[in-house]
Structures are given as structure tokens and as C-alpha cells.
């Protein structure tokens, strides 16, 4: 086995995994706090990509657009929570899933209307172009950036959840909603802000992705599966586990595509099914 090729695939796996992480972290946060599985989450990821495209064409600045599109996506997520999702907290989980599914449909279609049916893409900004050469392997700066950013997001989310005052409230609501209310924590504020954060991170992911991979209709449908697989293998509700699993899935699927292209997709789905069957709470799950 060619070590260099392996390394390349490994790095690819890491940055793919970082994308899965950006997608999964919001899903797991939102579920942990609101107990809602947000089917529209992947749609928002794609929205991030589209918004990035638009902001970039207006501002010409990669970093600024990145920030703007993430925040804008977060706001959209929060908006959906306030206007729609809030109404179904009392309903059975099935109806909540259906609502988010409906939202996903609407978001996908609105995107087609606003940005057309053909995929959009951006090129990597000049200051991030180029490669590092180490030991016969070329690693692009951009993929490194993504991996590093993913890691930073992990650290930040972990820190915020476990060390900040807001995070404390989030954990309280996560553990026991009623108790938190008795302690005068406003669950609605927590829910909305969680939706904001989770969706913003998904938007960030989409914004980063557009420079590597065209963003178009159908991308959301494709990604949602991976998001679910990550979250479900990890076990809903575990941040550290989600990060590790995302990277694992990224690496495994990347290596599978390289070594066994016939069955690459099958391997991921099979692993997911296997894990779930053996350990339904997920590898690191609490529920």
C-alpha cells in the first residue's frame, strides 16, 4: 500500500469529516436541547453555501462573507424555530419530524427559486490557494484550513457548553426541562439560541464547502443521510463523540472510496446499521 496515497486519502477523510462535523454538531445540539430532530438542518447547510455565494459577489471578501453567511443562516434557523417549530413542542415526535421535513422542502424549493437550478461555486481565495509539500505529499492549504477550523469549532462549542453561563443553561434544559423552568431559566430563549448556534454552524459548513464542491439542489438530500448517520452512530447528545465520529466517518468513507470503490457507500451505511443494531444508544450515547 502506497503510504503517500494513504496519507492523502487520510487528509481528505479528515476534511470531509470536518464538514460532517459542522453539519452534525448543530443537529446534535438542537436535539439535545429541544428533543427535535431537525430534518431541515441539511437544507440550511446548503443555504449557507448559497448565501456565501451571494455575499461574496457583493463584498468580494471571503472572510467577511463567511461570517455574514453563517450568521444569516443562524438567523434563519432561529426564525424557523420561533415561527414554526415552537408550535409543535407539545406534539408527538413524529409530527415534529414531519414539520421539519416540510420546512426542508420549503427551504430547498425557495433556494431553487432564488438561486436557480444550476449549482453555484466559488473558487478558493488566492491567499488560501496552494499546497504544503511534506514527504512527497501535497496537502492543500484550504483543506488544512477546514480541518483546523473544524477543530476550533469543536473546542469552542465544547468550551461554551461546559464553561459559559449560557452553556450552563443549555445543559440544565438538556438534563431536565421542568427543573430548569423551576429554576427560572427561560427554556424558549435557550431553544432559540440553540437553534441559532446550531444552524449557524451548519451555514458555516456550507459556506466553506462551496469553494471545494459546487452547491446545488439535491446536495441537502444527499448530506442529510450522513448527518443522521453521524449523529445516530455517536448517539444523540454527545459533542465530543460527534466530533470523533464525524472524522471517523470521513476517513472511513474516504479510504473506502479509494480502496473499494465498488462498495464505498455501502460500507458507511452498513457500519451505521451495524452500530445501531449492536448498540442502539450509539457509540457514545446517553439516551
Amino acid at each position: 500500500m502506497d503510504l503517500n496515497a494513504f496519507l492523502v486519502q487520510f487528509i481528505i477523510g479528515l476534511y470531509k469529516g470536518s464538514f460532517y462535523w459542522l453539519l452534525a454538531v448543530g443537529l446534535t445540539l438542537i436535539f439535545g436541547v429541544t428533543r427535535i430532530i431537525n430534518f431541515a438542518h441539511a437544507a440550511f447547510f446548503v443555504t449557507g453555501g448559497y448565501l456565501m455565494y451571494t455575499f461574496y459577489s457583493y463584498t468580494g471578501s471571503f472572510i467577511l462573507s463567511l461570517v455574514l453567511s453563517s450568521i444569516a443562516t443562524g438567523l434563519l434557523g432561529a426564525l424557523s424555530e420561533v415561527i414554526l417549530i415552537r408550535r409543535v413542542y407539545r406534539l408527538e415526535p413524529i409530527y415534529q419530524l414531519l414539520l421539519t421535513f416540510g420546512i426542508a422542502l420549503v427551504v430547498n424549493e425557495l433556494q431553487k427559486i432564488l438561486w436557480g437550478k444550476f449549482p453555484k461555486y466559488l473558487s478558493i481565495p488566492d491567499y488560501l490557494k496552494g499546497y504544503i509539500s511534506t514527504g512527497g505529499v501535497n496537502i492543500s492549504y484550504y483543506s488544512l484550513t477546514i480541518i483546523i477550523l473544524g477543530f476550533l469549532v469543536f473546542l469552542s462549542v465544547y468550551a461554551i457548553i461546559n464553561m459559559s453561563l449560557w452553556g450552563l443553561r443549555v445543559r440544565a434544559v438538556w438534563r431536565d426541562r421542568t427543573m430548569a423552568q423551576i429554576l427560572r431559566i427561560n427554556p424558549h430563549a435557550v431553544y432559540t439560541s440553540t437553534f441559532f448556534l446550531g444552524t449557524a454552524l451548519a451555514g458555516l459548513g456550507g459556506s466553506l464547502m462551496i469553494a471545494l464542491h459546487p452547491v446545488g439542489p439535491g446536495l441537502g438530500d444527499h448530506l442529510i443521510i450522513y448527518a443522521f448517520i453521524v449523529v445516530v452512530i455517536t448517539g444523540l447528545g454527545n459533542i465530543v463523540g460527534a466530533y470523533i465520529t464525524s472524522l471517523l466517518i470521513g476517513v472511513v468513507s474516504s479510504l473506502a472510496t479509494w480502496l473499494l470503490p465498488e462498495v464505498d457507500v455501502l460500507i458507511v451505511y452498513s457500519i451505521a446499521a451495524l452500530v445501531l443494531l449492536v448498540r442502539p444508544e450509539g457509540l457514545f450515547g446517553e439516551r
Binding site: 415526535p93 414531519l98 414539520l99 416540510g102 425557495l110 438530500d221 457507500v265 446499521a273
Partner: protein, 327 residues
């Protein structure tokens, strides 16, 4: 003959209506109505699982695809006959239902939903990757309508073929729901936690419901394969699993014929409106949202409440006439 049960009456009336369609001779109508019947069966099978047993599945397309592909493969490689292909297609769902069901049904409803998504996509991946057998993304073509046992190549012939199965299955499924087996399924959906304390195993009930639902879905898939003559992997993609869900919701999940009404509405929306409105999916999404938030009874619910309102307002005479009907 007085039919006391309104659902049976409606099914018979619907069949009578459907019998009229081929008389118009219009190929488009025949095509659309055939599709309607196939989707109705698919949606009915879905609602058995969802509306009656309370099990939401995102992988139901798996059965549809298994039925379709098995029928296709059988008629192309083994015996060139649509009826034989249909039978084999339906039977192929049994091992799938047993294996997948046994693995997935022991979990809570939420995990079940996600697991069905994973398994459904597993089937999709299989269909795409196994080019030598399934034709990959190109699929399989040339599924015959003219066979050794029967010949249904003319539109009228295949239409009646589909209609026969439609009526038999719709009535059969209804009788199932009315039976003791069906009562247990409804109990499962109503209060699963109570079942063990009434002496029944929820897992067992889930299993046979899954089996019956799978059989029906595969039947619709097999009919589809014969009807279309072509099968492609997209009938296994998870978004196709969402269609019977939407149809059920639209028509009303708590009424037996709700999915049929939903399938009808869905077909109208997709074929007719799609010509004029590019963004019919948007309307669909909005409809789903509206239904979940406001009208969980779906169109069926709206119809029924309108019926009751009319009944109240129309005085004693109508009240007496309709009092014998049970909805």
C-alpha cells in the same frame, strides 16, 4: 344490498368509477389513473405502518424497489410473464420484511425512523453499485407486458390488471384492519406501553404489521415495474419514501381511505400543477407545514367535519337517512 360500512361502500363506488375510465379511450387518463392506483396502494401500505401502528418509516421505498426490481429481474431473466413476475415480486418482500423488521423494530419509534432511513439507503446503494445485476443508475428496461400466462400489452388490459389488484388489495387490507389482528395494530398505535399489560407482545405486532405493509408496498412496486416497463434506482432513494408519507398526511392518516385521497391530490398536484407551477414542491412543503400545525386530519378530516356540519345543519330528515352510516 345495503352496505353498512362506509369505507367498503366508498371502495366499491370508486372501483365503479375507475371502471369507466378506459371507456374514454384517452391514453393520458388511463396512464394517470393507473399511476393513481399504484400510488394509492403504496400510500395505503404506508399508512398501515404510520397511521395505525404509529411507526414512522423513512425507508418504505425499499419495499417498493424490492418488489419492482425483483419483478423486473424475474421477467427478464427467468420467465417472461408479468403475472408470474408480480407474484415473485410480492413474495420477495417477505425475507426483506422479516430481516429488516427483526433488526429495526426492537427500537423506539424515533430510532426506528432513522434506522429505516439507513436501511432504505443501503438498498439504494446496492441497486446503484451492483451494476451487473441491477443495471446501476441506468436500471433495467424492457419489462414485458406480454407474457406466457397473460398478455396485458394493451392499455385497457394493463389498466384492468392494475384495477383488479387495486380493488382486491384495498378491500383485503380493510378487512385486515377490521379483524382481530387489525385491532391489535390499532391498539399498538393507540397506546403501545399498555400492550404488554394486556398480555400481548408489542414486538410481535410490529413485526406482522411490518410484514403486511411490506407485502402491499412490494405489490405496488411490482405493478409499477410492469406498468412502466422500466425500473431505476431512484425509486429506492429516501425522498421517494417521503411521498407516501406526504400522501397520507394530505389525505388524513386517521381515515382508512385517507391515503387514497392523498394519492389522488398528490397526482393532481404533480402532473397538472407541475406544468403550470414550477414550484409545486414548495406548495407541498407549505401544505405539510400547514397540516402539521393546523389540520392534522388532512383533507379527509376536513371532508368529514364538513360532512358533520352539513348533517347538523340540514335537519332531521338527513340525520335519519345518514344515521345508519358509520364513519
Amino acid at each position: 344490498m345495503v352496505i353498512r360500512d362506509i369505507n367498503l361502500a366508498l371502495i366499491i363506488a370508486l372501483t365503479a368509477l375507475l371502471l369507466l375510465v378506459p371507456l374514454t379511450g384517452d391514453r393520458f387518463y388511463i396512464y394517470i389513473t393507473s399511476l393513481f392506483m399504484i400510488y394509492s396502494l403504496f400510500a395505503l401500505s404506508y399508512n398501515l405502518l404510520f397511521g395505525y401502528a404509529g411507526l414512522l418509516s423513512f425507508g418504505h421505498a425499499m419495499f417498493f424497489a424490492v418488489g419492482a426490481y425483483t419483478t423486473a429481474l424475474f421477467t427478464l431473466k427467468v420467465l417472461r410473464d408479468p403475472l408470474a413476475g408480480l407474484v415473485v415480486g410480492v413474495l420477495s418482500s417477505i425475507p426483506v420484511a422479516l430481516v429488516v423488521g427483526f433488526l429495526t423494530l426492537r427500537h423506539t419509534r424515533v430510532y426506528f425512523a432513522i434506522l429505516t432511513l439507513a436501511f432504505g439507503m443501503l438498498v439504494y446503494a446496492l441497486l446503484v453499485k451492483w451494476r451487473s445485476v441491477t443495471g446501476g443508475t441506468d436500471g433495467l428496461i424492457g419489462i414485458p407486458k406480454r407474457g406466457v400466462v397473460i398478455d396485458i400489452s394493451s392499455p385497457t388490459a394493463y389498466y384492468l390488471f392494475i384495477l383488479t389488484f387495486f380493488t382486491i388489495t384495498t378491500i383485503g387490507l380493510y378487512l385486515f384492519i377490521k379483524s382481530r389482528w387489525g385491532l391489535l395494530v390499532r391498539a399498538l398505535g393507540a397506546n403501545e406501553d399498555r400492550l404488554p399489560f394486556t398480555g400481548r407482545s408489542p414486538l410481535f405486532i410490529r413485526l406482522y404489521t411490518f410484514l403486511v405493509s411490506g407485502l402491499t408496498a412490494s405489490l405496488s412496486g411490482s405493478l409499477y415495474a410492469i406498468f412502466m416497463g422500466v425500473v431505476t434506482p431512484d425509486i429506492a432513494y429516501w425522498t421517494f419514501s417521503a411521498e407516501p408519507l406526504v400522501m397520507t398526511l394530505l389525505g388524513g392518516a386517521s381515515y382508512y381511505l385517507g391515503p387514497v385521497l392523498g394519492a389522488f391530490t398528490f397526482i393532481i398536484l404533480t402532473t397538472i400543477l407541475a406544468r403550470y407551477a414550477e414550484y409545486w414542491l414548495l406548495l407541498l412543503g407549505l401544505a405539510v407545514i400547514a397540516i402539521v400545525i393546523g389540520f392534522r386530519g388532512g383533507l379527509g378530516g376536513m371532508l368529514v367535519s364538513t360532512f358533520y356540519t352539513v348533517r347538523e345543519r340540514s335537519g332531521v330528515w338527513i340525520r335519519w337517512r345518514y344515521s345508519r352510516l358509520k364513519i
